[in-house]
């Protein structure tokens, strides 16, 4: 029996930004249904890593494989495979919630009937039905995050990339987000979640990876690791630049 192909494999990817190495020789892999928490202080390289995974930024070096295929050779894989919520959920302020979903659906190549079905289901799932005719420009930050998440989930991606999705959400919305992430993962979607919140990671993730100065310093399963142990590891890396990469 052959092992299942990982949804995402990063092999030695590196990227310079503003003249300094933002990500250096990063190796990661993620299987279907797995939730990976990506931790790191500001400037650790989390957003750069996620932008490369989402196809918005090209690595200087290394390889990204999606479902075993070379993503850099075939960037069009992003259309069906990846759903991405960038930091601060950028939106077109003059378009309504429903127009956002329709535009994203068309850009992802959904046919009309499938688009209508996916749009209505996603609006309901993200509790956006009541806001569907509202302009994105007048939404609160929490509502914007939900709309961004809806756009990322619309086409049922195999890999969901979330860059600080809990930003500006109230505690009730954070709880709903955690439930949603677990549901999506249970449906077989691999999720990579960048966050500053250690509690977020222990609550929803199966694995945690810690980046520091663009390098992977820690990669381990969450199971059996308490919040305090994770906090200790994180602060050791963040404050003292500790290493000690562990096998997942």
């Amino acid at each position: 029996m052959t092992a299942p192909t990982a949804v995402l494999q990063l092999q030695d990817i590196s990227r310079h930004r503003a003249g300094r190495p933002a990500v250096q020789r990063l190796n990661l892999s993620l299987d279907s249904g797995q939730v990976l928490g990506l931790l790191g202080i500001n400037g650790a390289g989390k957003s750069t890593t996620l932008s490369m995974i989402a196809g918005a930024l090209t690595p200087d070096d290394g390889q990204i494989r999606l479902n075993g295929e070379d993503f850099l050779e075939r960037p069009e894989l992003a259309r069906q495979v990846i759903g991405w919520l960038p930091e601060r959920a950028p939106l077109w302020p003059e378009l309504t919630v429903i127009e956002h979903l329709e535009a994203h659906g068309r850009l992802r190549g959904l046919a009309s009937a499938a688009l209508c079905q996916a749009r209505d289901a996603t609006l309901e799932r993200l509790d956006l039905t009541a806001l569907s005719r509202r302009l994105a420009g007048v939404l609160s930050q929490g509502q914007r995050q939900r709309l961004g998440l809806a756009c990322a989930l619309l086409h049922k991606p195999k890999l969901l990339v979330l860059d600080e999705p809990a930003n500006a959400l109230d505690p009730v919305q954070v709880s709903a987000l955690r439930t949603l992430i677990r549901e999506v993962a249970d449906e077989g979607t691999a999720v990579i979640l960048s966050t500053h919140l250690l509690a977020e990671v222990t609550a929803v993730c199966d694995r945690v990876a810690i980046l520091h100065e663009g390098t992977l310093r820690h990669d381990a399963a969450i199971a059996g690791t308490g919040h305090e142990a994770l906090e200790h590891t994180f602060f050791d890396i963040a404050l003292r630049g500790g290493t000690g990469k562990q096998a997942a």
Binding site: R15, R17, T48, S51, A54, G55, A56, L57, T58, P75, E76, L77, A78, R79, I82, W84, P86, R88, P90, L91, W92, P93, E94, L95, E99, A103, H104, R106, L107, R108, G109
Partner: protein, 261 residues
């Protein structure tokens, strides 16, 4: 299909923003006023014009001058093309620079679309808006075509020339927007390039040079023949070259965005 998706998105954004509507309303009102003045002058000179059967008619004195004052100067200095020098940069300035400012450009990259599809999608949307604008403007002189003698061939050539100018200005606008982080800078650059292309040969013409390379560079040289009703492949190719060159530059710059981050 992907180009069409970008075109639909851009058209939707154009039509829900007030800018496009306000520009269309104001410019069409100005053109309507221009039409009334041109028609009034044409009617007032009927006796004089009737004396020379081979002289200029409705097409030369009303329909074509609606599009440009390049040949006629005349009553009101600004025809549709002269207005387009300002209108097109206003419409195109935010097409890519705005996406960059709002942070939505990575979203488009994240859908796996190559840069050329994003550029073409946006360009086609702008072109459709400009085509609609041109059709609404030309509907004014055409509305009384049944009562006058209209030179359909000459008007068609002038419309083709106008459409090509709009296409070239839109391509230049999209390119400027691709190269700029701020829509206002893109708009100003696009306006300056458009003006430069119109009058780059003014100095040479004043010096009596009419066949130099600098005249070939000028947009007005190629537009003038089309406005006179003469369609030449060389002129058409000039416009095609400008459009392809500008869109290729825009694509290259956008692709570099993804590389540079």
């Amino acid at each position: 299909m992907s180009v069409l998706a970008v075109t639909r998105l851009e058209l939707r954004r154009l039509f829900v923003r007030p800018l496009a509507w306000v520009l269309a309303a104001l410019t069409l009102a100005e053109l309507a006023w221009r039409f009334v003045l041109l028609l009034g002058a044409f009617l007032a000179n009927q006796i004089k014009l009737g004396a020379s059967p081979s002289g200029p008619g409705y097409t030369d004195l009303v329909a074509v001058p609606m599009l440009s004052s390049l040949l006629t100067g005349g009553l009101i200095p600004f025809g549709l093309i002269e207005m387009a020098l300002v209108i097109v940069p206003l419409l195109t300035m935010a097409s890519l620079a705005g996406e960059r400012t709002q942070g939505t450009l990575p979203l488009l990259f994240g859908t796996g679309l190559p840069a050329w599809q994003i550029v073409l999608g946006k360009y086609f949307a702008l072109l459709l808006w400009l085509l609609l604008w041109l059709l609404l403007a030309i509907a004014m002189p055409l509305s009384i075509a049944h009562g006058v003698h209209l030179d359909a061939g000459k008007l068609a050539a002038a419309m083709l020339g106008t459409l090509l100018v709009l296409a070239a200005l839109a391509a230049i606008g999209v390119a400027c927007s691709a190269f700029s982080s701020h829509p206002a800078i893109a708009g100003a650059a696009s306006l300056m390039i458009g003006l430069a292309l119109i009058c780059v040969n003014s100095g040479a013409q004043l010096a009596g040079i009419n066949n130099g390379a600098i005249n070939w560079l000028a947009l007005s040289t190629h537009l003038e023949t089309l406005l006179r009703g003469i369609v030449s492949t060389a002129d058409l190719m000039w416009f095609v070259l400008v459009v392809v060159f500008a869109l290729a530059l825009a694509t290259r710059r956008l692709a570099a965005d993804k590389e540079r981050g």
